[in-house]
Point group: C2
Chain length 180, copies 2
């Protein structure tokens, strides 16, 4: 309903991986996915029982369709996530995530700057990007000094959207369920 929620996997070493960040309207799946959901901000969540995947299919058609569509969107984000972590450098990777969040939260432009509130810590970003928190800090500094985007005090400000999109090769079409 509102707030930010991270879906994580925790390794036996204590390391954490943020698989996905859920915003208002998104579906958070626990149970059969063996993921852990953590609130990154005060959040309101509606819980639907159904720990097994079969359980989901037994809901009335309209309900299960909403859940399955949410799952499909999530799948698409996860796939892009693999591309991001696997084949892009730290700077492009970070830029890509910030652009995805800006797009999903529908951040509007004002005076040439797109900005939105973001409750993530640098450690969270690192866990979502497969980077150390220290390196995230350096990457953010680089993006800031490059005039692309700044992330300080819980606020993301995109100064050069065009350049950032180019840098990260960001193509938001994966966020839609439509076919090509």
């Amino acid at each position: 309903m509102s707030g930010w929620v991270a879906s994580c996997k925790v390794l036996n070493t204590g390391m954490r991986t943020v698989l996905d960040i859920s915003l208002a309207g998104d579906v958070v799946m626990t149970g059969w996915t063996r993921e852990v959901a953590t609130a990154l901000s005060p959040a309101v969540v509606v819980e639907l029982p159904g720990p097994t995947f079969e359980g989901l299919l037994s809901y009335p058609q309209p309900i299960s369709e909403i859940i399955l569509k949410g799952m499909a969107r999530r799948y698409a984000r996860l796939a892009e996530h693999v591309v991001n972590i696997g084949r892009r450098g730290a700077v492009e990777r970070t830029a890509h995530l910030l652009l995805e969040l800006a797009h999903r939260i529908n951040a509007r432009e004002k005076d040439g700057v797109v900005s939105f509130a973001c409750p993530l810590t640098q450690a969270d970003l690192g866990d979502a990007l497969g980077l150390s928190a220290v390196h995230v800090n350096r990457v953010l500094k680089e993006l800031r000094e490059g005039g692309f985007v700044s992330f300080r005090g819980g606020v993301v400000e995109i100064y050069d959207r065009r350049g950032l999109v180019e840098l990260a090769s960001f193509d938001p079409s994966y966020l839609e369920l439509r076919s090509v």
Copy 2:
């Protein structure tokens, strides 16, 4: 039905990412996922029309349930894939993938060695692991000389399954849809 199929995303730079490897019985999704399916071996595939996600839901219940379960399994593999790429070193990562394949293909042990045929090239492995083909080669050498597993001539031979599982912190439970 048979054979090995890779689901890929291709970047504008020409770089390729292998998101998932499908074996007999698995569901390969193209269309709304914007993935490209490539046969890694001679393969027999049954094609179901339904480029959009909504299309899938309109099949008769038993059919759509099979597809959705296949998608759920795929989601679970993808999630573990993110953990693998994001938070494990190259050696552990490679070990994890080989163990996953051995598990999914149900490779049997004989004379203390688990072995199975694997049509992947080192370049394919690299694209699946977010590594360069050259580094994959070095990692395989390290695993081989460590007495864990060898992958040569299209055949994987696991000599020390126990040690490999430990090394990769491999827990196959994510390959099942059951809840914890």
